[in-house]
Symmetry: C2
Subunit: 466 residues, 2 copies
């Protein structure tokens, strides 16, 4: 929602827009259609228009844009694909949105070092298509086909995180334009370093509030020799979750272990014309050598059977696996399609795995009691799950019920040693929980923000107010 | 070396020492023997005495100590086991050393979540002994039996990092006393989170300059079902390094792959009464299921043979493996024993693996040309290796030759996209390289330091001067 009291003056904006037009020509736009497109993300949060949108082509150009905005204290919002889920890219105080989607070059791939460097606007699917002939891949896969700059900025993860980690573990280095317009490189390509403060990890997850990520150096992995996937149905949610917990506690190096509840399975069947049983379900995948994958599959079969898993079928066929995981990645869109003219509110929490069953079951009971349409789906191997409220557009009463349920779920997760967001980020949506989660630590986050961005121009009003 | 111009006034010190004595009784010491013991680390750097040493027993006590020192702007140096290698714990400006070694309680182990929380003074071997009955272990193993607080503060790693990561990847959360004396918890126990700035990773590797780590929450791992280790000799250094590179590029999930050159093997034989061939050697270890370990061992055998590896013998016997890895962990002590009355200077760099052979071979040639005694040993699977200068005590000319060689090695590593230190940290020893490595990024590290520690009392003069 717009915070008009904190918007820059018209005079500042006019000066900045004129200077940006000199710099960028027609890659500076104040057209309503363009501003509209950059005024919201994929969340339920109310949008708010930027005063102008820049389409940057290089790190140096971003630096010039930041210098111009900084001189006049005009807010700057970095924008990748607009697929954030907690209002991250919404210009709540107006200002200039810097769209990085045209910075979509793969700068270098070093197959022998298992790394690559890309411009921030490269999307995850684009990178994997580019890499196909090298035998390498990049595993982090949030639901959306997000940009790697945006994924870094929100500390994204996805279905493979249980084995390969999140953006936190997979970003080796960043090029960033800092709030004063200087360009820094946060690290070298070495796999590890003890040389100074970890600015890479500070920028990963900073949601555009400390600077703009313009280039990302990523770890890559060899495409496994063997991959096998499966879908398993369980008689109840508890059995499915407990099978996951047992898998993690046994140390099986599972690559993907995803939970979808009965409501989500129904949504997927309807959306993609599939006929999975409408039951609590796990989607699984094993990566490794032929022998290792066979061994993992056998262990998984035994564990799932112990918890009532049935209709177990493994497939190694690429086509079938792609179909299976596309269905999983479309979960949010499938949920949204459950109701006409619906608004989707996707929220997430993450807890220690020993508390996962309790947390999911209590949340599911809340959903049932609330009479809301809200499928549960999650990267449960990490203790991370999502609730997607499918709400009637403009129904304030339904929104309030969802809001109350979300509050209860976050409080539950925090009381179990968990976090208010496992992978979506804070944006504006989770701001109210930050103090409860981090206590006094938030004041040191604020000190860092004030030190690096004393004018509070980088995506102001996100994560916390300063 | 002492920087007397920047030492606190005698009056401030007297006031602080009196207040600390009120707080701690005889756990505050100004005895020369105790100050001596805390005036140096295991590096070649000249020592400098603290004005007093506190032995803390709790986080709250550390907070009181910090508040007292802060009020009078007296430097505070956190001290674990004193095994740092770049002068980290040397009180170059005097002040109060806070010895955390008596904070050695394992606070909780959560076997079902594969994590534990320990006080900062718990040592790595102590933790693994404590964990033995749980079937879990903590893999990070620098050469010394260091404290987990110190290992966090220097972003340590060790022989298992190629598979399990470094302290960066394995610290889930920290309790820290910040420069103003407030206590924070940097994260919850959830495996992942997108909730705000990553203060955990900021504190890991900050070398006591941003606060004092008092408790550490760590990831644990199941002890592998099968473990097998081997020692392989190579006709030349190039063959050994290229075997490592091939292993990493093939994606073999090796747990340990360590290089020791001929000089180091000779040192180990003499130190431990062993009879390994005096050749370039790899120490290897595979972890996993029986089938997976057998598969890895077969692949490793083929790769090593391709590069001339010989005398290959795998062992799964715990006793033999322990002996083998103890020999590896004693490498520095063995090197020091090569000469009587010697001073050891252990330095390290880390490069992308594609440049590792070139970097090691050029460095080895430098060592040969310099006529210095300086074995090479390294965690080469990460691209990380060490040079240990074994110098005659007080021989300034020899020190200068070592210094020049170290400069050349670091410049070489930086020119190859590497870092001036892979795991030892900056301390005072690598300060001069920080700007060359990070450029303008250093100025943002300084901004963070100034914001969090405006009085510059936390381990001042380390990493950079402010």
């Amino acid at each position: 929602m717009a915070d008009t009291a904190l918007k820059p003056s018209n005079q500042s904006l006019d000066t900045v827009i004129a200077a940006l037009r000199d710099l960028l020509g027609d890659r500076l736009s104040t057209a309503n259609a363009i501003r509209d497109q950059h005024g919201h993300d994929e969340s339920y949060h109310h949008g708010s228009l930027p005063d102008a949108v820049c389409f940057a082509h290089s790190t140096e150009e971003v630096a010039e844009i930041v210098k111009i905005c900084s001189a006049h204290e005009v807010p700057i919002i970095a924008y990748g694909t607009g697929t954030s889920l907690e209002g991250h890219v919404i210009p709540t105080r107006g200002g200039v949105t810097v769209d990085l989607s045209q910075m979509d070059a793969v700068i270098e791939v070093n197959p022998e070092d298992l790394d690559c460097t890309v411009q921030a606007g490269v999307r995850r699917k684009q990178l994997n298509e580019y890499l196909r002939d090298t035998g390498l891949f990049f595993p982090i896969d949030p639901g959306a086909d997000a940009s790697l700059g945006g994924m870094s900025a929100t500390r994204a993860s996805g279905t493979n995180a249980v084995r390969y980690g999140t953006m936190r573990e997979n970003v080796l280095a960043l090029t960033c334009v800092m709030p004063d317009g200087r360009i820094i490189r946060t690290n070298r390509r070495a796999r590890k370093s003890s040389a100074g403060y970890d600015l890479t990890r500070l920028m990963v997850g900073s949601e555009g509030t400390l600077g703009i990520i313009t280039e990302v150096t990523l770890k890559l992995y060899g495409i496994p020799e063997a991959i096998t996937s499966a879908v398993v149905s369980f008689p109840d949610l508890e059995g499915a979750v407990n099978a996951v917990i047992a898998t993690i506690q046994c140390g099986i190096p599972i690559a993907r272990i995803e939970l979808l509840d009965d409501v989500q399975m129904d949504a997927i069947n309807r959306y993609a014309g599939l006929d999975y049983p409408v039951m609590s379900t796990l989607f699984l995948e094993c990566h490794g050598s032929e022998a290792s994958v066979a061994e993992q599959a056998t262990s998984m079969g035994e564990i799932c059977a112990d918890f009532g898993g049935a209709n177990f079928q493994w497939t190694s066929l690429a086509e079938e696996r792609t179909k299976l995981w596309q269905a999983r990645h479309d979960a949010a869109y499938a949920a949204k399609a459950l109701r006409h003219n619906s608004v989707l509110w996707a929220t997430d929490v993450c807890v220690p795995i020993s508390r996962l069953a309790e947390c999911i079951l209590e949340t599911k009971q809340d959903v049932v009691d609330s009479k809301l349409v809200a499928p549960i789906v999650g990267h449960v191997g990490d203790g991370n799950f999502h609730l997607a409220f499918v709400m009637a557009e403009g129904d304030e009463e339904e929104f309030k019920r969802a809001d109350a349920l979300n509050d209860r779920m976050v409080e539950r997760a925090l009381s179990m040693g968990g976090t208010c967001t496992g992978e979506h980020g804070v944006g504006t949506g989770k701001m109210k929980f930050l103090q409860a989660e981090h206590g006094d630590a938030v004041s040191y986050m604020r000190m860092i923000k004030k030190a690096l961005d004393p004018k509070n121009i980088m995506n102001p009003g996100k994560i916390f107010t300063v």
